[in-house]
């Protein structure tokens, strides 16, 4: 029971990070029908941006309040990563719009390779650590066998940040005219342009939002693990993509749900079975779910009246 509870907490934390990344995949797929393979590397890049800002703030500027530092890092990292997201779309994807379907996909793989190599050259190939940031834990429960179930402040910060940002973002997409334009472009780009919506601008906006959420995930990843390397874009990227497919690609709540499920499967499998096979477990469940629910858990099978 104690192990179960502990793994539940760990799994939800990890799942939150996957969910944040998965939204970027799902939104871009929804609007232009393309899997943005570079998204995982945008996440990795954002973790580096966060790392650099964090070091500048704490060691050079001497800000001692970790919470304040984290907040500033988060905002700066969101802005910078959004710029990257915007530039990538502008340079690598927009010129290929209207050409054959695979072209932007191949371009995305190119961007992915570029980003990881760029970071490797600029930051070096070794793991980059930070000093442990938030170390306090709340002990929830201690069993007689001596096993403690703990909820760390880090985990609280990660889950809270995810929840708050998702709420803000959900409001943006559901209730504002920007979000409406975004959903309109997702459903029918041609009609959206007939209604005066600048489709290119809306697609840019989608990339910016995706990158901003990935940068939140990047900052949280750094906070959680305290270390990041240039190769860290790939595996979390693939996991988050899996989460998006599992939840139903194109569906925002699906992306978050998928992220949480993948996070939970991974941690539970590691705890009860073998840590080496945690990825196998996650991907097997994806395969099984897709056999029975081809459009994912919250994906919509297209039933529309004509």
């Amino acid at each position: 029971m104690d192990i179960f509870l502990q793994q539940l907490i760990n799994g939800l934390t990890l799942g939150s990070i996957y969910g944040l990344i998965a939204i970027g995949y799902t939104m871009v797929f929804g609007i232009i029908g393309m899997v943005n393979f570079a998204h995982g590397d945008v996440f990795m890049l954002s973790a580096f941006i966060a790392l650099i800002f964090f070091l500048i703030l704490t060691t050079w500027l001497g800000i001692s309040s970790i919470v304040l530092a984290l907040l500033i890092v988060l905002v700066l990292s969101m802005i910078l990563t959004s710029l990257w997201g915007w530039a990538i779309e502008r340079i690598a994807y927009r010129p290929l719009r209207g050409s054959f379907r695979l072209a932007p996909l191949i371009s995305a793989i190119g961007v992915s390779i570029f980003l990881s190599n760029f970071v490797q050259v600029a930051q070096g190939a070794r793991n980059k650590p930070t000093a442990p940031m938030v170390r306090d834990v709340i002990v929830l429960y201690q069993s007689e066998a001596g096993y403690t179930v703990a909820l760390s402040y880090k985990q609280i910060i990660i889950m809270l940040t995810t929840a708050v940002l998702l709420t803000i973002f959900w409001y943006l997409v559901q209730k504002t005219s920007l979000g409406r334009a975004q959903r309109a472009c997702e459903q029918d780009r041609k009609m959206a342009s007939l209604l005066g919506i600048d489709v290119d601008k809306t697609i840019s906006l989608t990339f910016v939002i995706g990158a901003a959420l990935a940068s939140v995930a990047g900052t949280m990843y750094l906070l959680y693990y305290g270390v990041v390397s240039f190769a860290d874009g790939f595996v979390p990227g693939v996991k988050a993509f899996t989460a998006a497919v599992l939840g139903g690609i194109g569906s925002l709540p699906g992306a978050v749900l998928g992220g949480l499920i993948i996070g939970l499967i991974e941690t539970f499998w590691s705890a009860y079975f073998s840590i080496e096979y945690k990825d196998v477990a996650a991907f097997s469940i994806l395969a099984i779910v897709l056999i029975f629910m081809p459009s994912g858990i919250l994906g919509r099978p297209e039933v529309e009246k004509v």
């Binding site: 334009a181 209604l195 005066g196 009246k305």
Partner: protein
Amino acid sequence: MSMAEQNIGVKAAREPLLSVRGVKTYYGNIIALKGVDIDVNEGEIVTLIGANGAGKSTLMMTIFGNPRAREGTIRFAGQDITKMPTHEIARLSIAQSPEGRRIFARMTVFENLQMGASINGMAHFNEDLERVCTLFPRLKERLQQRGGTLSGGEQQMLAIARALMSRPKLLLLDEPSLGLAPLIVKQIFDIIKELNKKDGMTVFLVEQNAYHALRLAHRGYVMVTGNITMSGTGKELLENPQVRAAYLEGGHH
């Protein structure tokens, strides 16, 4: 052509609201419009009739620059819009209820109407919402329903209502009667007439339902495989034996 020029002559003092000159549109190498000339004057209802595949809808979309005219010019309210991006053309206050209706199926009726009003930043949203709800009471009952769940006729009403939400200077309607029950067709045509009379809205109407369209319109054009072959007042075209033979015989009259 001479008949068209005569008719244009009536209002020659002012430039037409919409003028299409020598427009050629291609899909790849296939030519769809072979040099089309059309004028729509302010305050008029002009109809374009023709058979399936004549290029009527292509002309509607070419006016919006999607597909773009390869040759010729399109002017709206004195401005050359031939090379303008689609969304900027829409912002000049031209609205279209397009072929196939193109309702946002996963948005509510209310949201679809909001989309229609987004050009002028929702300035008169509540007022206009009330107006279209009066025109189409069926929509009022279904405001919170998803667009995709509406019946064909309701979707057509929504497509027109959405186009009206931007208070357009020029309203393009692509086959509003397609697939609808005769009673609803009559309702929709009555509404078009009322919009034109009361609000002075200029309407360019594409129809296969030639009889109703020509009776409603001030002027009409006939399109055959990418060419305008005839033009005149609605009445003239209704009485024209060629038009009767091709588009009206066996139909209602």
